[in-house]
Amino acid sequence: MNDENIVEIKNLKKGFDKGKITALNGIDLTIKKGEFVSIIGPSGSGKSTLLNMIGALDRPDEGTIKVAGYDLKGKKDLSEFRSREIGFIFQLHNLIPNLSVVENVEIPMFESGLSGKKMREKALILLDYMNLSDKVSRKPTELSGGERQRVAIARSLANDPSIILADEPTGSLDSKNGEMILKRLKDLHDKEEVTLIMVTHDLNVAALAERTIEVLDGKIKV
């Protein structure tokens, strides 16, 4: 693998429903370390499937996929890879309702081997970074949509990932909150030099990225 490339995908294919549905049909893609890439395409084009493959939430049927040095097709247990290298941000915040804001941010750190005290310290720093210091003890239901998504960003940063994967991060927010979240993500990329891969169907949002990839019918449109 080229040292500069954090994602290297060759001829990646993925089908569902015993091959009746082709989600990805021969994807070739490389993404450089520290790059901000947006993936666009209409519904059902395969963009979320591609993101899930990069995040090792699903396995390919054919082709090769290497992310942050891990061969994702060959490796049996991918939880360690997800824990160390990936930070996920979903369209819906997916926070755990009975846990407080700070506890939600601590959740990914359970696999990191940090002590409870260190986990708390780190979670508080991340929440401060997201301007949520005054909300740490609140339950997710007590927060606004934008605040919840900021908690989700803090959670995605918990294990210092090399790549952040965001699937329609502003999809369920109003424009004001959406803008704020995008600004946070952009800051994160600019200041922390983290690789950011974002799926969106909004061209204005996609325009914030350094490079935009369009997926159509399971292939990258050239």
Binding site: N52, G55, L57, D58, D77, S79, E80, F81, R82, S83, R84, I86, F88, F90, N94, I96, P97, N98, L99, E103, E106, I107, P108, F110, E111, G116, K117, M119, R120, R155, S156, A158, N159
Partner: protein
């Protein structure tokens, strides 16, 4: 600061109503186990007290009898046993049930008045009955209270009236609920001349119980057998074994019913949290950690049910005692009973929680995240 264990303890109480219902459902099974255990232990301890009554070192009963109190042996064995090397003394006892007043199950025990000391009783009021022919009885403390009889009163047994000359106490509920009278009188009432139910045997100070019981069994084993301990009794007396078996069968039933309840509760919980489990996988949780979490939650649920069940069992015993069952129940609160309750709870948690936990741990993350 949140620990993994803290999370496991916290999670089952997210849906308080469902958890409370599941806890009560399992707790009823545990309460039954605990209450039965307390009653059975009382029964065992009371039987053991009968075996070790007073100065007796062991008891002789009929061979192959289903219940110790159904035993019937010839009185001549009393003298034969007295002859055995190492035996200090032996006394024949005939026990029977007679209706007295409102009580259809009044226990009467016949014994040679000269050997009353071997029964281990203490006269708390009045005196012992004087001769084998006297129409006299001494009545147990509990029986006296129930029948409202005291020294000087008479009670009718069979066709004859007997004068109450004393009140005794042994600490054993069965005996304290009935009377002692002369063996001859009980044999007459029951029309069992020259018969006894059992023989209490006292050995000499330097003698060995095992050697003596072996020599008796070698000599007369065809007709009589010796009981020196509760274990011996259980090999002879099917009654206690039946209670033990019933108690285990109820435990098993509680495990099965409780297990199904736990599976149902935990499957519902996993089902509702499918998306959350997907998130946990996405943030890097190992399958093993998800399995431990759900299994742990199941155990928290059933251990809570165990504690509630123990309390319910104790309350049930108090209710039974308050309802006037104190004449039949002599509760013994041994730690083993409570440990058994908690052990059953733990097993129910493990068995009932495993399948939902396994299912959660195997959920494909993308499917779990798509779940609405």
């Amino acid at each position: 600061m949140m620990s993994f264990l803290g999370l496991i303890v916290k999670n089952p109480f997210r849906n308080k109503t469902r958890t409370a219902l599941a806890v009560v459902g399992i707790a009823i099974g545990i309460a039954t186990i605990v209450a039965l255990g307390i009653i059975t232990d009382g029964l065992k301890s009371s039987t053991e007290e009968t075996l070790k009554a007073g100065g007796a070192d062991f008891t002789v009963v009929e061979t192959n009898v289903s219940d110790m109190f159904l035993s019937e042996i010839d009185e001549s064995y009393v003298d034969k046993i007295k002859e055995v090397d190492g035996v200090d003394d032996a006394v024949g006892i005939l026990t029977a049930i007679q209706p007295v007043g409102d009580n259809p199950y009044f226990v009467i025990i016949g014994i040679d008045p000269a050997k009353l000391a071997m029964s281990g009783m203490k006269i708390t009021n009045g005196a012992e009955f004087s001769s084998p022919d006297a129409k006299e009885v001494i009545i147990g403390k509990v029986g006296a209270q129930k029948l409202n009889k005291t020294v000087g009163d008479t009670i009718t047994l069979g066709k004859e009236d007997y004068k109450v000359v004393g009140v005794f106490e042994t600490g054993d509920l069965q005996q304290d609920g009935g009377t002692y009278m002369s063996l001859k009188n009980v044999q007459a009432i029951e029309e069992k001349e020259d018969k006894v139910t059992m023989i209490y045997v006292k050995i000499k100070n330097d003698a060995n119980v095992d050697e003596i019981t072996k020599s008796i069994e070698d000599k007369y084993g065809k007709n009589i057998t010796t009981i020196a301990s509760l274990e011996d009794l259980q090999s002879v007396d099917q009654g206690l074994n039946t209670i033990d078996t019933a108690s285990w069968a109820i435990s098993l039933l509680a495990i099965v019913i409780g297990g199904i309840g736990v599976i149902n509760t935990m499957i519902m919980s996993v089902y509702e949290r499918t998306r959350e489990i997907g998130v946990l996988k996405a943030v890097g949780w190992k399958d093993r950690r998800i399995l431990s979490m759900i299994l742990g939650e199941s155990i928290v649920l059933t251990l809570a049910a165990g504690v509630v069940g123990i309390i319910m069992g104790l309350v049930a015993i108090q209710v039974l005692l308050a309802l006037g069952m104190s004449g039949f129940i002599q509760p013994v609160y041994s730690p083993n009973v409570f440990l058994r309750g908690l052990l059953v709870a733990l097993i129910v948690g493990l068995i009932g929680g495993f399948y939902p936990a396994y299912r959660a741990s195997r959920l494909p993350p993308t499917e779990a995240l798509r779940y609405e």
